[in-house]
């Protein structure tokens, strides 16, 4: 394509808009001044030390990490078999079922969080952890259905049928033939689900209990009371983790796996 200067300039402005706010946060994380200021007055790591001295951030990180993994595993456990069943053409009401499995995306997160709080926490009086787990399961399930579903659409089922005629049992054929062929889809679904669970706020906001806060809700709480670069330091750590994840995904699956 021939270069179009105006279009290039326009795109540069848009990328600047996307990139600068996060860059500014990164810079303020190393600033010595206690209130966020720019340009920075001196270089320090003390806000990072503060992050590791703040208990709610550490326990929040632990909770968010564990929650994201367990919720995603549960979603894979029930989501992969369902996506597999739906990928077979013979299923009646396929479209309806699929949109039912994707329905948590239609219901706004804030409503999911609120209704779970009312029903699970207040009415059934389940422990906070179980409520959070259920909420995050709903957050990640659509990613599993969508991404694993599209991986299965690419899969040539005649290979599976061949395994059957060669004497493989149905279960054996699934684990030995189908699953290895859709493994990259499953990994992509895991990554997307993990990131979205880890970043979720509206659902966690309602389901957090005394002393049980995910990292994003702990951050949100912190911002409401304090205004110092500790939040910037947390942001830098999380952004570094995001970059690491993106790098690994790019090297293994290609970054396109995260844009589905």
């Amino acid at each position: 394509m021939r270069k179009n200067k105006f279009l290039t300039f326009y795109a540069c402005l848009v990328f600047g808009f996307l990139f600068l706010p996060l860059a500014i946060i990164a810079v303020t994380a190393f600033n010595t001044a206690p209130t966020i200021s720019f340009p920075i007055s001196g270089f320090t790591f003390k806000w990072f030390a503060n992050v590791f001295a703040t208990k709610s951030f550490l326990s929040g990180f632990q909770l968010s990490f564990m929650l994201a993994i367990v919720a995603t595993l549960i979603a894979l456990l029930v989501g992969v078999p369902a996506a597999y069943a739906l990928s077979r053409n013979s299923v009646r009401g396929k479209k309806l079922l699929k949109s039912f499995f994707l329905s948590p995306t239609i219901i706004p997160g804030i409503v999911v969080g609120y209704s779970l709080y009312q029903f699970i926490v207040l009415k059934l009086k389940l422990p906070v952890m179980q409520g959070l787990l259920i909420g995050h399961f709903l957050v990640v399930l659509p990613y599993v259905i969508r991404v694993v579903g599209s991986a299965l659409e690419q899969f040539d089922f005649s290979i599976e049928e061949m395994a059957w005629t060669l004497g493989c049992g149905k279960a054996q054929a699934f684990f030995k033939v189908v699953l290895p062929n859709i493994s990259s889809g499953i990994v992509a679904a895991f990554m997307l689900a993990f990131i979205n669970s880890f970043n979720n706020i509206p659902v966690s906001m309602f389901l957090s209990g005394p002393g049980v806060r995910t990292l994003p809700t702990a951050l949100m709480n912190y911002i409401e009371y304090f205004y110092d670069p500790t939040v910037s330091a947390v942001s830098v750590l999380l952004m570094a983790a995001t970059i690491a994840i993106m790098f690994v995904v790019e090297k293994t699956l290609g970054i396109g796996a995260l844009t589905k």
Binding site: L22, F100, P104
Partner: protein, 276 residues
């Protein structure tokens, strides 16, 4: 596949969804349409007669609409640019667009607190240039919610659009140009019409996302600029007004569905017209 095994594979997810999604939703939403054993819409009529609620409802729609339009204005040319560069550059630019989307929304809102606040970067620059005597109050206004929401959803718009535009053949553009169309004209006449389904998909995602986002209006709006989402939280958690929160929740769900169905119907009609 046998019917039995299909049922066996689908049963766990279906039961789980009914128990943890459908039941809680019904338990919360159904009581809002009953009063003394009879079905009534009185609570919803009351909602749309209360000027305070109408204001919040209209503000939510206005922010979602303006956000969607701005995301289209900024996103369409940018996505077009990304879809036409070399494959290597496309990967890099897609990563740059994707990165903010994978970053926590608290962080993204926090960035704008630093930029728009009283001691924020914009005010520091303005006062250093002696353009203002008093720092401008930009934070905790509808403007800051809007900027934060655009920042939240622009990457989604760009990524959705690139997905559609990169499949449009470069030859199409070249054919139009060789037939004498200017580059802008061939973009408007060739690329844009072919991208409309993608643009509508992106618009649906951005509009519904902006309508229901919670973190950004909570952190950048303050109590004076409540949206439906922050209203649900306030009704439920601060005021313990469960019925009120549930009414807002259903209003939000129904509005989202109407917008989704409406825009998708337009997309379907445009698709049909294209086939003829």
């Amino acid at each position: 596949m046998k019917k039995q095994s299909t049922i066996l594979l689908i049963a766990p997810i279906t039961i789980l969804l009914v128990v943890v999604l459908i039941l809680p939703l019904l338990a919360v939403l159904l009581p809002t349409v009953f009063e003394g054993g009879a079905v009534t819409l009185s609570r919803y009529i009351a909602f749309f007669q209360d000027p305070y609620y109408i204001k919040i409802f209209v503000r939510t729609l206005r922010i979602a609409l303006v956000c969607t339009l701005v995301c289209m204005i900024l996103g369409i040319p940018t996505a077009y640019f990304i879809s036409r560069v070399s494959k290597k550059w496309r990967g890099i630019l897609m990563s740059v667009a994707l990165f903010p989307m994978l970053t926590n929304s608290v962080i993204r809102a926090f960035a704008w607190i630093n930029i728009l606040g009283k001691n924020g970067i914009v005010n520091q620059i303005l006062s250093a240039l002696h353009l203002v005597d008093q720092p401008l109050s930009m934070l905790y206004t509808e403007f800051s919610v809007l900027v934060g929401t655009i920042y939240l959803f622009l990457p989604l718009m760009i990524i959705t659009l690139v997905g559609v535009m990169e499949n449009i053949d470069n030859d199409m553009m070249e054919a139009a140009e060789s037939l004498g169309a200017s580059r802008l004209l061939s973009f408007v006449k060739v690329i844009l019409p072919m991208s409309i389904p993608g643009i509508i998909t992106g618009a649906v995602l951005v509009f519904t996302g902006a309508m229901t986002a919670y973190t950004t209006p909570q952190l950048l709006g303050g109590p004076k600029n409540m949206l439906l989402s922050t209203l649900i939280y306030q009704r439920a958690m601060t005021l313990n007004d469960w019925t009120g929160a549930s009414v807002v929740a259903l209003v939000m769900i129904v509005t989202t569905l109407i917008v989704m169905k409406g825009l998708n119907a337009i997309a379907g009609r445009l698709d049909k017209r294209g086939e003829n």
